[in-house]
């Protein structure tokens, strides 16, 4: 009986080898938001659609789970590892093992820091440019107020993300650059809303009472902006008119709010990274090399489009034209 089992096992293993299918492993940090869900679904789907074998691991927000998953991938002899790091540091040991096993490492969304002193340990990185997202939001505000012929100060309330998180640091820095270059743009209230709707709403409620005049609400993600809209209505002001609202991420709910006229704009941060992952793996198989760090092309979507959002003269897109493409 045992022998038969061994035989069957050996046969299946041979079949497995014989199919010569690429094994692509993906270690995701967990499911903390809609954005993350869209990101996971897109990458998983792209790998499966390419006809490769997907080995997926959900780390449930724990670094030790991710370390374990990476070691499992090495033992299983996968061909590629796609990796989103939950925290920035503490990966040296396991990433050295990955390098030793000569498995190409494709980083998405987050770029961890190591003490290797070079960047040979990963093949390439693909993810959002957070400072640039904040910068584009700032430029949109500046140019929008120019386009409506606004003179004088622009009083801005900022709802920032979870303090110390990558997107919060990046987006704050980018937006601050524009503020520093334009003395009429003034941040009159600055508080964290922890990236959630409920806190965005409670903080905005307080801001509306503490600050006499607010022209713009800049929320470092769409959820906080969506929460704040209700607080603005409760204060007897018209969101989108009395207070101009710009969010970040460009999720479907924000598109709906923009089309409904309750929100003005949103600076995109795309979770759709599957296509790039597949492109890189196909290229590597064909012997190509890739730039170490690549950012996705991202836009700003607003009510009417046509507002300049960067130094190259690119303009914002009209949300209503793109709402149906949004899946997340």
């Amino acid at each position: 009986m045992k022998k038969i089992l061994v035989l069957i096992l050996a046969l299946t293993m041979m079949v497995g080898v014989a199919s010569a299918e690429l094994k692509v492993a993906f270690s995701q940090i967990g499911q903390e938001s809609d954005w993350r869900t869209a990101n996971t679904d897109d990458v998983k789907k792209a790998i499966v659609d390419a006809g490769w074998e997907l080995i997926y691991d959900d780390a449930q927000q724990k670094q030790e789970n991710q370390v374990k998953a990476l070691r499992n991938f090495i033992t299983q002899g996968v061909d590629y590892i796609v990796f989103t790091a939950i925290v920035t540091t503490g990966w040296d040991d396991v990433l050295a093992e990955v390098k030793e096993a000569e498995i190409p490492l494709i980083l998405i969304d987050r770029l961890p820091e190591t003490s290797f002193g070079n960047d040979d340990w990963y093949t390439c990185y693909f993810g959002g440019d957070f400072p640039f997202e904040g910068y584009k939001a700032g430029m949109w505000v500046k140019n929008y107020f120019e386009s409506i012929g606004h003179k004088g100060d622009i009083n801005i309330v900022r709802l920032s993300g979870t303090t110390g998180s990558d997107p919060q640091i990046g987006r704050t820095k980018g937006f601050d650059e524009v503020v520093a270059a334009n003395p009429n743009m003034k941040i009159v209230y600055d508080q964290t809303g922890n990236f959630t709707r409920a806190e965005g709403q409670a903080v905005m409620e307080a801001a509306l009472k503490a600050v006499p005049k607010i022209d713009v609400l800049w929320a470092e993600n769409d959820d906080m902006a969506l929460g704040a809209i209700e607080a603005i209505k409760a204060a007897g002001k018209v969101p989108g008119k009395d207070i101009i609202i710009i969010g970040c991420d460009a999720v479907k709910a924000a598109f709906e709010a923009i089309v409904a006229g309750e929100m003005n704009a949103t600076s995109e941060c795309t979770p759709l990274m599957g296509a790039r992952v597949v492109e890189v793996i196909k290229g590597l198989e064909a012997g190509q090399t890739f730039d170490k760090v690549v950012h996705p092309v991202e836009y700003v979507y607003d009510m009417n489009g046509g507002i300049v959002i960067d130094d190259d003269g690119n303009v914002s897109l009209k949300a209503a034209d793109h709402i149906n493409e949004r899946l997340y």
Binding site: T192, Q201, V203, K209, K252
Partner: protein
Amino acid sequence: MMRKRMKLDTERITKSKLFWAIVAELLILLVCLIIRPDFFSISYQPSSGMLYGSLIDILNRSSEITIIAMGMMLVIATAGTDLSVGSLVAVSGALALRLMRWDLDLYPTPGDWSITPLYLVIAASLGACLLMGSFNGLLVSRWNMQPIIATLILMVAGRGIAQVITGGKQMTTMFSPFKFIAHGSFLYLPMPVIITAAVILVIYLSTRRTAFGLFIESVGVNRSASRVSGLNARRIIMTVYMISGFLAGISGLIYSSRIISNDSNNAGQGYEMDAILAVVIGGGNMAGGKFNIAGTVMGSLIIRTIITFVYYFGVAAEAIMVFKAMIIAVVIILQSEPIRRMLEKRSRMRRSIQGGALHE
């Protein structure tokens, strides 16, 4: 004679834990008054038909915790704890949004409509939470599981259940009757304040105007003794966990109505701790045996006043934790037996000195 009674009364007042909770709240408000008197301005907002101001915000936004704390208070009085309430908030909201918008694929854009009538949405959410509350009650009362362990199960599983209900999505609704739960008004006050007042009233009437409250406390003091003296301890424990679950459901509906959406990850995050804090500030004892409704309400108001204070004055929000810890530490230390005995001794000494009877 008259003088003596008055003296006794002041002594009883300073002894009561509620007194110190009120003092703490007034102190925070005094600081607000000194920094910016306009913190206290209240005006009428015609567009929403209710009063508008920071004090109203405190009342309004403390609702979720106050309602949960009412259930927590009864659970703690039986010498238990209910850690699952935060997760039940998420489940209640997830279920409500799911029922209102179950054919999301057909109508992806939120509109002023619901697939399910509102009363069914409310009944289902509250029913589910009542059911989960009875699950907790069953584990604690029948199978004698430790309350922290028993309720930890749903605390962990609850968010998973919420994710499964909504398929991991965050849905938005514009259905105005549902929005009314948190954004509507009655008697110039936000609906959550009215709902909270109703909950407090019902809890007060059912515990302090009947023997039920006494039963709960007696189970908390000594479960076996109360059973021997003829109380059905199991049923009483079962009931308090069911109440706690049900109230978490109400809180969840208010939360999701505020953001007209569900948020399985963040809804009710940390509410169990805030509710326990409110109860403890209000004079509850984790060892069970007593509860104080007014004190618990005060505890919840203190917590929300701190948060509103931090937001209003633009203090870094990370400071909320520090402020909370500081104020709570002070209140609880003032309430503790040894400190109170020490203070009492001092005042008695001073009084006897004033009375010229040092060698009494």
